[in-house]
């Protein structure tokens, strides 16, 4: 269970606190929470809720990146799953809808995994193929329009609440626990980290590296599909052209902010999700600040760089703290 706990997450937590504090400054009511119609209501909840798609994506992405891969197609897979869910929602039961949408994600993941693990393509181009074509497939399903639905079950997935928390947040939490249990409860985590750390050596040690690679892409596809269903449920419609657009970059960013190296190896699920939260906290802060939208990207750039610099081993202050921490643990 080592990497499930934010053992090395000090920098990330600190970054989150700083950004939250800045948000508080630009928007004094940021921490206000109230209960309305049985659900919590406030900016903090928005952060959690709006952060779910990227958090879900990053759950799959972090595993892919741990094997030294990358998946650019997650945004497109979101669109496909959303489109499927929306077109089936009013005629089928929730179980069928979910099975179809997640099944589509699984197939997309298999395809990516096949290209990378079996055909040996470089992950970035292999998944670029589905990134381009996948959105087309999604639009093919919706024929370019926004397919709306009113199935209360599916809408509940996007807008309902459990114990005051929005359903998407609960689902994401569940997925985090599930993924953590599967990955760290079995030997998967170790074997994935070994594959990413040195694929040749792992193969020689008897690790089925192809199977590892295939399975992480499949999981990534499933996570993306779930994110797509939630995104569609949120707006009660599937917007094939815009659902998940550019979210792959946010997901990768979340993973890297979460301290996982793009060169594979060690990964942390919790920190990846924390990375997604950091990004969303910043986004929500930007929206609340009231600055003109022309500034959005500049603010984003500055924040991203600052968060990364906080983590940089070269910045002495931090190296000192984390080294001391490690020493006390040892």
């Amino acid at each position: 269970m080592t990497a499930l706990l934010p053992r090395r997450g000090l920098a990330q937590i600190l970054a989150l606190i700083v950004i939250l504090a800045v948000d508080r400054v630009v928007s004094p009511q940021f921490f206000d929470l109230r209960l309305q119609d049985g659900r919590l209501f406030g900016s903090l909840i928005d952060v959690l809720n709006r952060g779910t798609p990227v958090a879900l994506l990053s759950l799959g992405m972090v595993l892919v990146i741990a094997t030294r891969g990358i998946d650019l197609s997650v945004g497109a897979v979101m669109a496909i799953a959303g489109a499927i869910a929306a077109s089936l929602a009013d005629t089928h039961s929730l179980a069928v809808v979910l099975a179809a949408a997640l099944g589509a994600g699984l197939i997309c993941g298999l395809w990516n995994g096949f290209l990378v693990a079996v055909l040996g393509m470089q992950p970035i181009v292999a998944t670029l193929i589905l990134m381009v074509a996948g959105r087309g497939i999604a639009q093919l399903i919706t024929e370019g329009r926004i397919v709306t639905f009113s199935s209360p079950d599916l809408v509940w997935l996007g807008n309902g609440s459990v114990l005051g928390l929005p359903v998407p947040v609960v689902i994401t939490l569940g997925m985090l626990i599930l993924t953590g249990a599967v990955v760290r409860g079995s030997a998967l985590g170790l074997l994935i980290e070994a594959t990413g750390g040195n694929a040749r050596a792992s193969e020689l040690a008897g690790v089925g590296t192809r199977a590892m690679i295939l399975s992480v892409y499949v999981w990534c596809g499933v996570c993306a599909a779930l994110a797509g269903v939630i995104a569609a449920a949120d707006i009660m419609g599937a917007d094939a052209n815009n659902a998940g657009l550019w979210l792959e970059l946010d997901a990768i960013l979340a993973v890297v902010i979460g301290g996982t190296s793009l060169f594979g190896g060690r990964f942390s699920l919790v920190l990846a999700v924390l990375g997604a939260l950091i990004i969303q906290t910043m986004n929500t802060g930007i929206l609340l600040s009231g600055y003109p939208p022309e500034f959005n990207l500049l603010v984003k750039a500055v924040v991203v760089l600052t968060v990364l610099l906080l983590q940089s081993p070269k910045l002495t202050g931090f190296a000192g703290i984390s080294a001391r921490l490690r020493r006390t643990k040892a």
């Binding site: 009511q29 926004i146 929206l287």
Partner: protein, 298 residues
């Protein structure tokens, strides 16, 4: 002989755009015109490439829905050299290119913003009103113009004020997210009197956000947006939306007629065929309009 026309379409970034494409196809089929549509995926480079390849294929005319107003001079000059007439659809290009195209069938997006603003001013009357604005994609000319028109319209009324303005990227999801934060930032929505969205999709998202916050869109908060896509009429039927300004998806019809006349009899059409920016409110039998628009491919 049957006419072959190449249409460089921007993409399918919104329901409205999809409708424009499918209406264009219908209109072309009606007139037995062979319409070749090249989809540029929102990229000017692709549009230029498409026009070049239309020229290489020697089509009879080219329709262009320009993604941006500038940068068409040299490729349109090539078309002119090849004696292929060009018709602009939906959006205009920079004035310097006036002699390079036959005619432009467009609406005036500044005017659309004005219509929306005027409606709001009239509806609010003398009461003070804080408006929040959902902008289109930063840098998109339609967004800039619709903002400009709206600002001009409300500038005449000191009681109207835009208190917050953020981009919702023309999408439902972002419209909803931005509206959520507007509500938080403006005292749970109590300080907001009206929402103006640069397109209906964002408004549909915003309406959901308001409902989830326990507000009554259309009553507590007025809404006005642009495009007149079917879903906004559905919201009007439910009393959750107040007004929309139509941008007709049928730009190709008039354009095809103009080209046919020009090719047939040599009639030179006027430089600008302006489409109507019609305002629809709950008083206009939204259910009927919804039904009539539903099949158009939005």
């Amino acid at each position: 002989a049957e006419l072959t026309i190449g249409f460089s379409q921007i993409g399918s970034e919104s329901g409205w755009r999809a409708a424009e494409t499918s209406v264009s196809k219908q209109e072309a089929a009606k007139r037995k015109v062979n319409l070749k549509i090249a989809d540029a995926q929102q990229k000017q480079e692709n549009q230029i490439k498409a026009i070049r390849s239309f020229i290489a294929q020697n089509v009879d005319a080219i329709f262009l829905a320009p993604v941006v107003s500038t940068g068409w001079d040299s490729v349109l000059k090539e078309a002119k050299e090849a004696k292929i007439p060009v018709v602009l659809l939906d959006r205009d290009i920079d004035p310097s290119g006036k002699e390079l195209y036959l005619t432009a069938v467009t609406s005036d997006s500044v005017h659309e913003g004005e219509v929306a603003g005027d409606w709001l001013a009239k509806t609010v009357g003398a009461k003070a009103c804080n408006i929040v604005e959902l902008q289109g994609t930063v840098g998109a000319s339609v967004a800039t113009n619709r903002k400009k028109g709206f600002d001009t319209a409300i500038a005449k009324h000191a009681n109207l004020k835009v208190v917050r303005s953020q981009t919702g990227d023309f999408t439902r999801a972002k419209g909803k997210e931005v509206m959520e934060s507007f509500i938080k930032a403006e005292g749970g929505g109590k300080n907001i009197c009206a929402v103006y969205a640069h397109n209906d999709d964002m408004m549909v998202g915003a309406i959901q956000a308001m409902k989830e916050a326990g507000l009554k869109p259309g009553k507590d908060i007025l809404t006005v947006s642009i495009d007149a896509v079917p879903d906004i009429f559905k919201a009007m039927v439910a009393g959750e939306a107040n007004a929309t300004v139509e941008l007709t998806p049928n730009m190709a019809g008039p354009a095809l007629d103009a080209v046919a006349a020009f090719k047939g009899k040599g009639t030179v059409p006027p430089k600008w065929i302006q489409t109507e920016s019609k305002l629809y409110t709950a008083a206009d039998d939204p259910q009927k309009i919804y039904d009539s628009k539903k099949g158009l491919g939005y």
